[in-house]
Each structure stands twice: as structure tokens, then as C-alpha cells.
Symmetry: D2
Subunit: 337 residues, 4 copies
Amino acid sequence: MMVILKPNTSEEDLNKLVAELKEVCVEVQINVGVERTLIGLVGDTSNIDKGIIELKECVDKVLKVQEPFKKANRKFHPQDTVIDVCGNLIGGKQIQIIAGPCSVESEDQIIEIAQRVKQSGANFLRGGAFKPRTSPYAFQGLGQDGLKLLKIAKEITGLPIVSEIMSARHLDMFYDSVDIIQVGARNMQNFDLLKELSKIKKPILLKRGLSSTIEDLLMSAEYILSGGNTDVILCERGIRTFENYTRNTLDLSAIPAIKKLSHLPIIVDPSHASGLSWMVESLSKAALAVGADGLIIEVHNDPKNAKCDGAQSIHPDMFDVVMKKLKKIAEIEDRFI
Amino acid sequence: MMVILKPNTSEEDLNKLVAELKEVCVEVQINVGVERTLIGLVGDTSNIDKGIIELKECVDKVLKVQEPFKKANRKFHPQDTVIDVCGNLIGGKQIQIIAGPCSVESEDQIIEIAQRVKQSGANFLRGGAFKPRTSPYAFQGLGQDGLKLLKIAKEITGLPIVSEIMSARHLDMFYDSVDIIQVGARNMQNFDLLKELSKIKKPILLKRGLSSTIEDLLMSAEYILSGGNTDVILCERGIRTFENYTRNTLDLSAIPAIKKLSHLPIIVDPSHASGLSWMVESLSKAALAVGADGLIIEVHNDPKNAKCDGAQSIHPDMFDVVMKKLKKIAEIEDRFI
Amino acid sequence: MMVILKPNTSEEDLNKLVAELKEVCVEVQINVGVERTLIGLVGDTSNIDKGIIELKECVDKVLKVQEPFKKANRKFHPQDTVIDVCGNLIGGKQIQIIAGPCSVESEDQIIEIAQRVKQSGANFLRGGAFKPRTSPYAFQGLGQDGLKLLKIAKEITGLPIVSEIMSARHLDMFYDSVDIIQVGARNMQNFDLLKELSKIKKPILLKRGLSSTIEDLLMSAEYILSGGNTDVILCERGIRTFENYTRNTLDLSAIPAIKKLSHLPIIVDPSHASGLSWMVESLSKAALAVGADGLIIEVHNDPKNAKCDGAQSIHPDMFDVVMKKLKKIAEIEDRFI
Amino acid sequence: MMVILKPNTSEEDLNKLVAELKEVCVEVQINVGVERTLIGLVGDTSNIDKGIIELKECVDKVLKVQEPFKKANRKFHPQDTVIDVCGNLIGGKQIQIIAGPCSVESEDQIIEIAQRVKQSGANFLRGGAFKPRTSPYAFQGLGQDGLKLLKIAKEITGLPIVSEIMSARHLDMFYDSVDIIQVGARNMQNFDLLKELSKIKKPILLKRGLSSTIEDLLMSAEYILSGGNTDVILCERGIRTFENYTRNTLDLSAIPAIKKLSHLPIIVDPSHASGLSWMVESLSKAALAVGADGLIIEVHNDPKNAKCDGAQSIHPDMFDVVMKKLKKIAEIEDRFI
């Protein structure tokens, strides 16, 4: 952290400030220049409130030098994190494809979709049991029954399960039923939930919030990592902007950015980002071309009658077509699906 | 809801579509025009997925006519909702001022601040016990001890208490300790929490999320109202935009908008919106001039050493100055503090 | 400007970098610390490209210390700029109200509106002659004829004229016809136009672009000031965000921010910000309460038949009501209209 | 356009409204329903102000049915527009790559870069002569001399020239010197300039504004098309959002969206979108995977000493590497470079 003093700060004020800063920092570097004096704060400054130092009379500005995330930071962990989920390695050479319906609706539905996406090459089955709906009057999911149906689908197909948790109260239920616990965009800063997830041994799929910066996302990952759970998979799913043609604006630049800043794997959700089934194919290809480690795609065997998000779900036939194209992109990137 | 068909849709396709729509709607109005056929869906369409109808081959576009919120809607509840909290009426002629520190830090601190803000005319004491911090390494609040200290401050000053809940697991604790339960911006779409709060008899202060539209905010209020809790106070606290001079962009237009759309009271948080203590005075005045029913202001007796948000907290002396000016604005608006 | 080196930079790399920096800077301060070396660049760094220095191998980050605007900067010009336009002082104790229709439509129309707004206390007449319309098929304004009608309205009422320029080619025409030349939001970064306006002696009303930061706005003002025209009036008129209930999101925090950063006067346009005539009153009051030096309000004698922006224009009767309320707010702020 | 009346509108009000609407529309369809009456406006409604109809007492809402752009609309022009520039077809099977420096700096510089990018397979040379810089103190380009140097580079390499115009006053100069005239993001709604460009026979590269929706961009294209110039190439170059890691947020979903809405070719500028040279490769690949018709990439032979935008420019060696990868992506998409 760098503290820049106002021009003409008196020596008395300088000394007073330095004394105060020394109480909170490991080391204070003073640099008296011709025009301005600069103070460098060295050591662990993650606990220091930049805004408060800026309140001091003689301070012009305070600038952050270091990223506030540590365990998620590639600087301190240069190798890619690779997470093994039932034998599927996420973050390695293989591109992982998670596919399935927005909501689990019935045993027949989830088994049929699971079998179809498996045939096309998907590695994981997704399906919502507890649904975060904007409206209290919309279908809220089958709840625990949904998780049971997912388990049945796993038994039949062998596909590991990804499903979204909406409350820390459901933790035991999820721990037993799913292989990756998803935290949705709307709960990315539900810190109470993140703390609970940090204490368990289960991979977490953490989706970026609609108004979250890349740094915010990595700070939420830091909550999970700092509690001891090292298996965090990040997910870009679109941010909220003024453009309304798509439901959200997919920020594909976030993929190389996160690859540079962090060692965690990152996947892309083209279905929620666009809200448009006909865009899923092209956005999926772009996501792999930009370097994503995987995709999470909504697939429904009857989109026109889906209980939620039908407009962004693709049919298994279409999913099969998409997978064939994705394999070619993966190859160019020297990866495979 | 209006369904607009593509030009030259065949009668067969039209009949098929109408048959499908009749299954989900109370009434279907068909209007065959020269260029285009329009279908109006009448009755309760809140459960119909606009996107799915748009998937049909012959459909060009589907337009929503009605707002999706009902209990929060002024159309069905023309009179202002006025909420009585320990004798203070929120949403009536009196402007309600909630003041206090970001975090409860000690008994001395919270009592001193409570006494000072009461002297200046505040009606409620705010104070955080559980803090939603972006960083896991930042001060997380005193927890249950913080709630106890707030209770002591209430006993001494008589000021009702406002504090933020972060988890449904703390519901009993909050029910017993506070007079208004605050839901923070980051939990505005924590639907599990909203559902729990809908079942209790305790006023809820619901803050707008950083990327939430006015409609999103009203839909989250609808979650609480639809469960049976009618006492919801809304709060505008800034949205996330590209402008970074202030922490967020205070959207004061939301106040008249919400007054038109809904009957619920709405207050403004100038401290979190700007993140800058020196802006609190002018934004507070603007908030009252635009029609807000109250303010929630961060006040700290020692901002430079505050454990959180010191940069946006004002000193009790400053609060006193601000209150005097606010009283004049309230008078012009034919209200009082 | 501060250059922060990567940990463990060799002395050779450091010396090489310092030599390069010395070529472009007045002074280079080196500060070798335990963990990191910092280099401060002192003097006029406005011409240095931060991004290029960051390309150097040994550089971790470059941080800007100084604002890039100079002539618009309050640091170098502490007193408020007050601009005299035909005897009306903009930026002083008096609040200036600019009122009139979106477009000049006819002699009768502009004269009637001018007389009405003058009666209610407006100090300036606005009226569009050249209109920046999103659609090429929409009414584009009366052009030079519109300017002539504005001149007639001025002769009759004595109100000075404000009108928007859309091209440097019209400069002579505007120089002769209007008292304040308006640069619209869409041309705020039409640098060719700004350069031409910097060379004349005529006050400029510079509107903030829809996606312009406060700093961008001040940099565009700097273009005009740096060429020798010192009479720049800034205007906040809403920025583009995800919220669509209003046409744009009025950023009232920008008023105190600009007052702190710059000495230039700043006014607010509540009509374009909201796009809703029924919001003009409350936003106008809020604008004065937050410290604006004036307002620009769309007034039309027949909004339902206006050739443009009827939905955001208020009737002269309504304008009269609004003005009475604004006078009270001005009084509280120790100003007058 | 659909007009939705309030419930219980009287027959008298309905008849009055219909009479008014008939004056401005080709046809008015009335549909009296159980709950609400709907009025459909058929014919050319592009000139009707939605907001003004919403001002009528009995009107609840007005909904637009048709896109406001016609000549740019794929509905009325189903085949892709393919533009022939010196034998290079833009919008066809071949992917067109435009490469070159931000600014023309010297004869040696522009010739060297032109030769290098040609060797690697670029089809066009870009180079700025007039530069839109945020700061008046930054390098403003070589002006007319820059255009002359571009002409020399074309003579030597045969590469057609793309350069940005900043003022209608330079139109003759550009008409003679360049093969594609670029309109920058900041001038996308400089309607005076667009009108001038609509009258000439020269392809226009129209960049999306930082806060422009896809519809805004197509409306600006409509300005050019409606004047008679049919050769418009669109360019996505990032929009302004809250995310600041990249200079702007590249909106790749805009590519399939525009392909669906319009017949015009669309290319992507990964350099300005990200502002980061190390991201150019991955974003370029993603742009082709998502369906772009070409790319415009900043290439500089000495990025660290470039007079502008060095941080986002790649070296010719790097450009060569990128081109090899892009060719593979093009192949998968059944196209070629």
C-alpha cells in the first residue's frame, strides 16, 4: 500500500502519521521527495482500511499495490489447481462438460436427459432441486426429492452430480447427494454460506455475481479457501450491463484475466449468460477458444414445456451437434473433451 | 401478456398455438389484423414463461403488460403502507432517521453514539453485529455479543434497534434482540432467507442489491409480503455502475419511481451509496427533497479508528449539523423529523 | 505517477528502467525497500502512457497520483468560476434556470413558451434547432430557421439563448445566434468540435456523456479550457446503467464530486435524465439540495403534440408550480433564483 | 406498436384516442377484451413517439413491436451483405484481418509494419492519422501527413487502408486517401458526420459506442444506409461496465445477435476492448469462434515506444503467431483467412 502525502506536509505531521502507521504495519518506508513524500506500507496490509488513512489531513491518496486475495492468488501458487471429482480432472488438459436441465422435474425427465448428454460426451449431470427464482410465484424446485432423483440418475449413468445450494441449512443433504455443490450468482456474497462451505471436503462451483468484479469473485473464493476447502471451481455466467438483448453480458475476457490472477479452474455458463438457446453453440465455442476449463450447459428434452428457463435450454439432439464442434475447438487448443 | 405473431402465420398454426395457450391462461383474446395477428393473454399470467412462448415457430415477440409483483403493487393497494415500530411511524408524515455505527465495537462506543444521535433527533439506532465483509480477513463483527450491546443501548436511550441479519440460522436471536431486521444488499436475493422472514411478525428493512432493478427489489419484497409479513421498508443504497468516484451510484430517481409503483415506504442510505463521509450531508438533503421516507446514516464517535467503513461515517457533531439542515428540507416537503 | 517494481528486480534492470524514465520525466525518486522498490515520477507526467511502463519486464504496476486535468482542477484554481452571460452570473449565489422546448417548432410556439417561462422566473431560454436523434427518420429540427426563431424570442423576452451545436461547420451561425452553445452528451468526446469551441469567446454548456466518468467529463472541459475558452458550464444529465425504469440514471453524487474536483459551475438536466415529466419536480428539488448551480428543464406548451421528447416535457403551468418550490430549496441553501 | 388501455376506459375516451391515432397511423386495430382493450398500430410507426402516447390519461403502456431500423434489418434483406474493397470481400467466407499501429508515426514505421503484417496474412492496413485522445495534452496524430504515409505504405504493399475520420471537414481528404473510413466509438452518434458519410461511395467501418446498445449501433448504421451508402461494416470493440480489469468489456454475444438482426458484416477489435496486448490472441480466437467476419488488431514494431496505445499493441512476431492459430479456427468454422 502506498500513501501519498499532500505537498508541503510538515515534518511534525509526517512523524505523527508514521507513528500511527507503524502500529498497524510490519514496515513503513518513507521517501521524502522534492514535491511529495511517499510512504510505502510493507507486509500484510490486507486488514488496513484504505479509506480511513485517506481521512488523515495530510494524506492526498492511498493506493493499493497488492491484490487482497492470497490463497486464490497465482503469485503464491503458480501451478494450476486441478480438482479430481470422481476421476474427472477439472483444470487439467481435459475440458469438462456439465449438462442437464435447469430443474429436475421427474424421474423420467432427469434419467432421459442424463443418458442423452452422457452419450454425447458430457462428464457431469447438472439439475436444480432448490431454485432461486426472482418471483415467489414461480416454480421453486422439487427440493429434497429433486436431489433423490439426481442420485438415481447418477446410479444409472455414472455421471457425477452438480446442484445448487440455497441455504447452509441444507448442507448435510447436499453433502450426501451431490459431487459438486454449486453456489449461484445471487449467493456469491452470501458470506455465511461461504463460511460453511469452507469447512467441508466437497468441491464448490462458485458462480460470479451479476455485479461482481473479478476481484470480488476471487475474494469470495478466498472465503472458501481460507477455511480449508481447496477445491473451488469458478464460473463466469454473464454480468449485468445496459445491454438487454441478452439476459446478461458474457464477459469472456474474464477467463484469461482469471487465469493470470489465479490458479483456480474456471468454466463458462453460456445458457444463463445469454438466456437464448440459439446462442449457446457459438458462445460455447468462444468460451473454449478463450481458454475456459469447461462449460455448464442447460439441456432439456422438452424445452417448450420446461418448468424453468426453457428459452435458454437446448435439446439433446442440439447438444450432440454442439459437442462435436466443441471437440474440434478443444483439439486446436491442445486439449480434449 | 401480448403475443405478436409473425406476418403470414397460417390459420392452422394459429389455432394450434391458441389451444396451447388456453391450457395455461384464463382467457385468450385473438385479434386478426391486416399485417399481423395479436393474441392477448388475460388473467393471472405471472406463472407463464415469456421466453418459452417466444420459442414457438410462429411467434415473433411476447410483451409483458402487467408488473409481476402484486402485494407490493400500488395498483392493488393505493394507500401508503405506514409501519409502526415502537411508536415510530415509517411511511407517514414523519421522516425517520436511523443512525449509528457500521459495527458495534464496545459497550462504551455504542452507548455514546446512541446518546449522541438521540440528542440530535435520530429515531432509531443502527449497528452491525454480523458483518458482510468482502474479505474473509476483515473484521466480521462481534456476533451475538454485538446484539446484546445494542439491547443495552436501547434500554438506556429508548431508541429501537436496526441490525443486519446474514443467515436464517440467526433468526431467533434477531427476533428477540432487534426491532427492525435489515437484509443487506448482498442478500437481497437470498430467497431462502426472504422466505423465513416472510413468516415472522417483525418489520424488515430490505436493501436494494448492487445490480438489482427496481422491479427486482419489489419482487424480493413480494417474497416477504406473500408469506404474510406485511411490514417491509425498502432502502435505496446505490447501484453498481462504471463510475468509481463514489463507491456506488445513488439512484435517487428510484424514490419517485417506487412511490408510484408501490405503497411500501422507502428510505435512503447515503453512507454506503457514496462511501464518502463528506458527501453524506448533501446526499441526505437530496434524498428528502426527492421524497424519501427516511434515512439510514452511519455515525461513529471516532471514524478514524472505526473497525469498518470509517471513511463513510460521520462524527456525532457533524450528524447534529446535518440534522438541523434536514429539518428545514422536511418542512418544505410538508413533513417533519 | 508511482512505478512499483516486482520483488527481486536486479540492480541492472532497475538502473536501465530509471535511465529510460529519466528521459521522459522531470524527476525520478527511487526508494529501495525491503520487499519492493518504488519509483516516483515527479513533474508533468500527463504525457506518459501508464500502460507502456507496465509492459516493462520488471514492473508490477503503475499508479497515477495526479488528476490528468489541470485547468479544470480546483487544486490550481481554488475559487469558483463564475460566468457572466448577458448579466446572469452562472456559478455564483444565484441559481440559474434554463427552460424551453426540446425543439423549436414555430414562432408562436417558441414565443409563447419563452414568455411563460420568463414569467415563472427562468433566466435562459433553451430550444433545439439541430437535433441529435437516434433515428434518421425522426424530426431533425428546423436548423438555421430554428436559430432565427430563437433570436426573435430573445428580442421579445430578453431571455438569453441556449441551443445545441452538432457540427463545427455551424460554428459561425451559432456564434451569432446564441448566448450559450450547448454540446450534447453524444458529442462530449467529439474532440474536433471541442477544439473549435476552445478558440472562441462564447460560454459552452458541456453535457456529460452517457458512459463518461466524471474524469472524462473534466477532460473534455480541459479541451475547451486549454484552447483559451475559460467559460465552461458542466451538466449532469444521467448515465447509462442497467436500470431502465428511467431513461438514464441521474448521478447526483457527481455534483458534490465535481464541486470538489473542479472550480467550474455545474447544472443538472432532470428532463433527459429521467425521460419522465412527472419526475422533473422531485429531481429538480434534489438537484438544488445537492448543490447544483442551476437546472435545464424541458418545457412545452403542448407536450402531447411535441415534435420530440414530449414525454419528458412539462407544461408551463407545471413549470410555474415547480419554480415556486425550487425557490424555497434555494433559500435553505442560502442561494436564490 | 401496441397500445394497452387502462381497465375500465370509457367508450368516449377510447373513440377519442382512436381518432387521434388514426391521424398518425396507416391502420388502427381495436380489440375490446374482457379486462382490457388493446389497440394495434399497423404500418410505418417509426415516427411515432411512444412516450407521448403514454401521456394520454387512458393509456397504461405502449409496447414497440417492430425494430426501428429498416435498411439494416435482416427481415427485409435476408441475404448477407458482402462488401468488396479492392477485391477483398468483407462478410463472405473469407475472414478479413485489418492490422497496423494505433498511430502512423513515421514512414519507416508504417512501411515496416505494413510489410510484416502482410507477410503474416493481413488483408488491410490500419493506422491513425487523426487521433481521438481523452486528453488534449496527448499526441493527436500526424494529421494529413499521416494519411500521406499510409498511401505510400499502400503503394509498397498493396494493402488497402483503414483510418479513422474525426470531422466531416476532412471528408475529401479521406475520400482520396483511404479505402475504408472508420468512425470511432466516440463518434458513433455524431449524426452530422454520419449524414455526410451516407452521401459518399466509400465503405464505412462503424464502431460501437461505449454505452451503445446493439439497437443504437444499428440505428447509426441506418443513418448511413438511409442516405444511400450501402457499404457499412460494423465493429464490436467493448462496452463500458463496472468491470475495470479490462479497459472495456468485450460483448461477444453481440456478434450472433447482430448476425440475426442484420445483414451487415461485423468484425471485432480485441485490442481496444481489452487494452491488454497479452489478451489479444485469446480474444481474437473467441471472436472467430463466435462468428465474426473479421478482426482489427493493433500491431506495432516497437510497442514500448509507441506514441499511443502501446500497452494493447502486439509485435509483428506475435501477430504472426496469432495468425497461424486464427487460421485453424477459421477452418473449423468452414471459412478461411
